[in-house]
């Protein structure tokens, strides 16, 4: 197992290197932060811009390859991912961004998985009954509705509640109230008031996919020959399904869950923008808008790492739940 993991890790490190390098070369040859500087008032002279960028290691006069070599040397020798055009250090900003994304998504993704799988099992056992139809229709609706619209609707709902109560119960944007005084309890209530709306929004939008998948995989197995064998042994239909069909139908779901978990740390653009939590997702888009080569590449590299971890976890999960699969 360890040998297998090591081998996979080597492969993925190589792939991450390729994507990141390609991403950097693409970014460095298309993004022109110097143009943005021209819009400043008072307008700096081109020499001033070049000088300022050279000090930040973003010398626009060097060709892309030279900048790539510099950038790569920085990472490999000092683990320095460079600076933004505004002078901020990528390394310093990165940790904060990841932590914000994680806080935004951690609770909601766990809820999404648990609720989605549980509802999938529940509806599969009650196929075509009213409860199944309602829940499954809802899941398909969530497939269709674009996530930002659903987030906005949840926000509107929260604002409505605030208005009808006449007091600010929920915060629809932001992570915490700046400059809040008070003890631990006040801090805790403030945190809940900030977390409730985004967590709820991401959860109700997300579980649909898992519900549909789990329901489908379980239904595929409900009439399988081995469930019939289990019933022929003397298990009731429900016992046979929960002991035999469920375990088999969970194999593909476990794989997709394993893939999802690292995504908690990668964040999501729409949710972060709409709820104004400035995590990794919004950073990656913003950095492109701000012509920030180093930040854009860093988020890309981070995304690749998350993907690789997800793929390894998915393999691991499959071997864990399916004895037919062996890793060699």
């Amino acid at each position: 197992m360890l040998r297998y993991l090591a081998k996979r890790a080597v492969t993925y490190v190589f792939m991450i290197f390729l994507t990141t390098s390609a991403g950097y070369l693409l970014a460095v040859s298309t993004l022109q932060p110097a143009l943005l500087e021209q819009e400043r008032i008072p307008r700096p002279t081109p020499e001033q811009v070049v000088n300022s960028f050279r000090l930040k290691g973003l010398d626009p006069t060097l060709n892309p390859w030279e900048r790539y070599v510099d950038w790569l040397t920085g990472i490999l020798t000092r683990w320095d991912w460079g600076r933004s055009p505004n002078g901020a250090f990528i390394n310093a900003e990165f940790g904060d961004r990841v932590w914000i994304s994680t806080r935004l998504f951690l609770a909601s993704i766990i809820l999404t998985l648990v609720i989605g799988v549980a509802l999938g099992v529940y509806t599969a056992a009650r196929q075509y009954k009213a409860s199944d139809r309602v829940i499954t229709s809802y899941s398909y609706l969530m497939y269709i509705v674009p996530a930002p619209i659903a987030y906005f609707l949840v926000q509107l709902g929260a604002i409505n509640i605030n208005e009808s109560v006449g007091e600010r119960v929920f915060f629809v944007t932001g992570i915490s109230t700046p400059g809040l005084d008070g003890g631990g309890w006040a801090q805790f209530v403030d945190m809940l008031a900030h977390y409730a709306v985004p967590t709820f929004a991401i959860t109700v939008v997300g579980w649909g996919a898992y519900q549909i998948a789990q329901r489908q995989y379980l239904l595929d197995n409900v009439n399988a020959d081995f469930v019939r064998t289990a019933r022929a042994k003397g298990l009731t239909r429900n016992q046979a399904i929960s002991r035999h069909a469920l375990r088999v139908s969970f194999i593909p779901v476990a794989q997709s869950i394993a893939f999802t978990i690292p995504a908690i740390f990668a964040g999501g653009f729409f949710a972060e923008k709409i709820f104004a939590w400035h995590g990794v997702g919004s950073w990656s888009i913003d950095s492109i808008a701000l012509q920030d080569v180093n930040a854009a590449t860093a988020t890309l590299a981070y995304g690749s790492v998350i993907f690789a971890v997800g793929a390894i976890l998915a393999d691991f999960a499959t071997t864990l739940v399916d004895p037919r699969v062996r890793v060699q």
Binding site: K7, R231, G234, L235, T236, R247, P323
Partner: protein, 722 residues
Amino acid sequence: MTSNTTAPDTAQSTAERLRVAGLHAPTDAVLSVRDLNVRFNTENGVVHAVRGIDFDVLPGKTLGIVGESGSGKSVTSMAIMGLLPPTAEISGSVRLKGKELLGLSDKAMCRHRGNDLAMVFQDPLSSLTPVYTVGTQIVEALTVHNPTMSKQAKEARAVELLGLVGIPSPKDRLKAFPHEFSGGMRQRVMIAIAIANNPRVLIADEPTTALDVTIQAQVLEVLHAAQEETGAAVVMITHDLGVVAGMADDIMVMYAGRPVETGSVDDIYYSSRMPYTMGLLGAVPRVDIAEKTSLVPIEGIPPNLAHPPTGCSFAPRCPLASEACLDGEPDLREVASGTAHSAACIKTEALADVDAHAIFAAPAVPVSRFDRLPRHERKTVLELRDVRKHFPLMKGALLKRRIGTVKAVDGLSFDIREGECFSIVGESGCGKTTTLLEIMEFHKDQDGEVVIGGLSNKHAADAKAKGAMRRELQMVFQDPTGALDPRFTVYEVLAEPMENLGMPKPAIRKRIMELMELVGLQADHVNRFPNQFSGGQRQRIGIARALAVNPRLVVLDEPVSALDVSVQAGVINLLDKLRAELGLSYLMVAHDLSVVRHISNRVAVMYLGKIVEIGDVDAVFDNPRHPYTRALLSAIPVPDPELERTRERIILQGDLPSPLEAPAGCNFATRCPVFAALPPAKQEKCLTLEPALELAAVDQQFACFYPDGELDADMVVVHEDH
């Protein structure tokens, strides 16, 4: 025994149930079924799948239920087990030791299922849960009915059960997962699960259909042992008249959801009185007799049970049908008073001592123009010289190293002459299909030479030569449904090969009409899609497609194994006729040795990539010299109860060995019944030297050092009393 099938509604009133219950004979039957009816609500209306079945099974006895697909035999077994979906409407009565089972809730039924009523299913590959160990699954069957049993006791019982069904080192195998077992081994596990709680009734639904003949013989032996061990009554459901001939005491023949003939096994096989039964028996080729008669084909297809038949359900296919047959369905009636033999036919009396061939229009045996010529004067259409296909067995992902070789085909040489049918037989995994693929591959880098109609793969294997080769050689596939594109009309299917050859349109059209007639299909059906034809008709389309370009050699890959017995006979007769009329040669691969014997002139027996015996089909089948051929032939059940009861059977141990374990010498040594009985000095020779093919008769060669050696007593089974 009469049954009333006109009951329109299934909601049974108490009075109705009492009436039905009154029909129960006061016998000591452990399972008795009366007037069982099953209806399914489908999109096409109500399908009345089982229409009034009565039977009793006595303890320790075996009832065989025989029928073709769609006859309702499996639905009957599932209805008894209470495993049909809730949408099925079931009426009548099923009594287990006098207790009514129909109408019990799923929960109440669970006290019987797996306890005193157990079942073995058809497909062992999918019937075990893949994610639990075999031990867990056996223990589960024990736990359900014996909650107080200790863990050690359950484990000990599971080991005992696995040993009983003949799984070597059962204690270690308990922790194995189903995918680590072969098909035959999994079916043994299924039997172990079924007999775990000493059931009074064991229902086996096609338990050996998915298995090789040698494995089938092993599993049937295990079932036999299990029945003796538990004293259970067995209900054996099958389409194979051979399988039940040796096992059953009584037989019930089903057609269109009803029993059409019931009686003791001798009654059914030796004096059947219902045309359908007679047709079925006549449609089965025999492996033990060199027949020179055609098989009896039963024309037509079974009725659609969404529309209840108004007359005898078999009348549309029965050559004896008259006006009277269409007037109401005949009930089962005793053939002679006081016997248990009954048949549902109004002409029963007239059918005593009548031969099936006299009723059904079996075509005359076709004679080919080549049959008169001695073999050596005919031209060779296909020749293989020392063809090999080895697959390296690799281990490791990045740095692969070779840990062995799978010799799928290992030095095969044979030839096929004009107008003859050459068959390759053997267990799955012996290399039959690889041989066909090697012939179709026709590439100059192949190991060995393939000569097709004078074209050699060594000398001319460019695209042009391949095209010419395809004109000489065409293929008919096993699964007629999968082999035809569902979006192509029959016309398009048949036209494609000819368009490839660049034939002009009018010629193609004319040829297609010829082909349709040739294979016995209506010419005006060319614009239909494959799904509008029955299985047998689809296989005829497949044959027509192969014949379109006028090949000289047709490769038949299991051409009839997907077809029902009665339909199979028609296709076999057609193949026979085409061979004679068109002077075709066939290369056939089949696992059914009865079919092989019927249709072939010469046969090769393969084992682990090598030919172990080859020659004239009658010589090889009547006087097999190689121990493997002997075992293979003895494993095939014959539809003759008398013979089945007394003949000696060679039961091979285990499965085909893995290529890594094959010995250096004779690769059959690990399972050979002769080898096992040899003194160690002689065994040495088998293990170190590879036997070459040697001549036994004019046209018979075999590869064995001790063909006349004694058989190991452990591997020979004779059932003396029944």
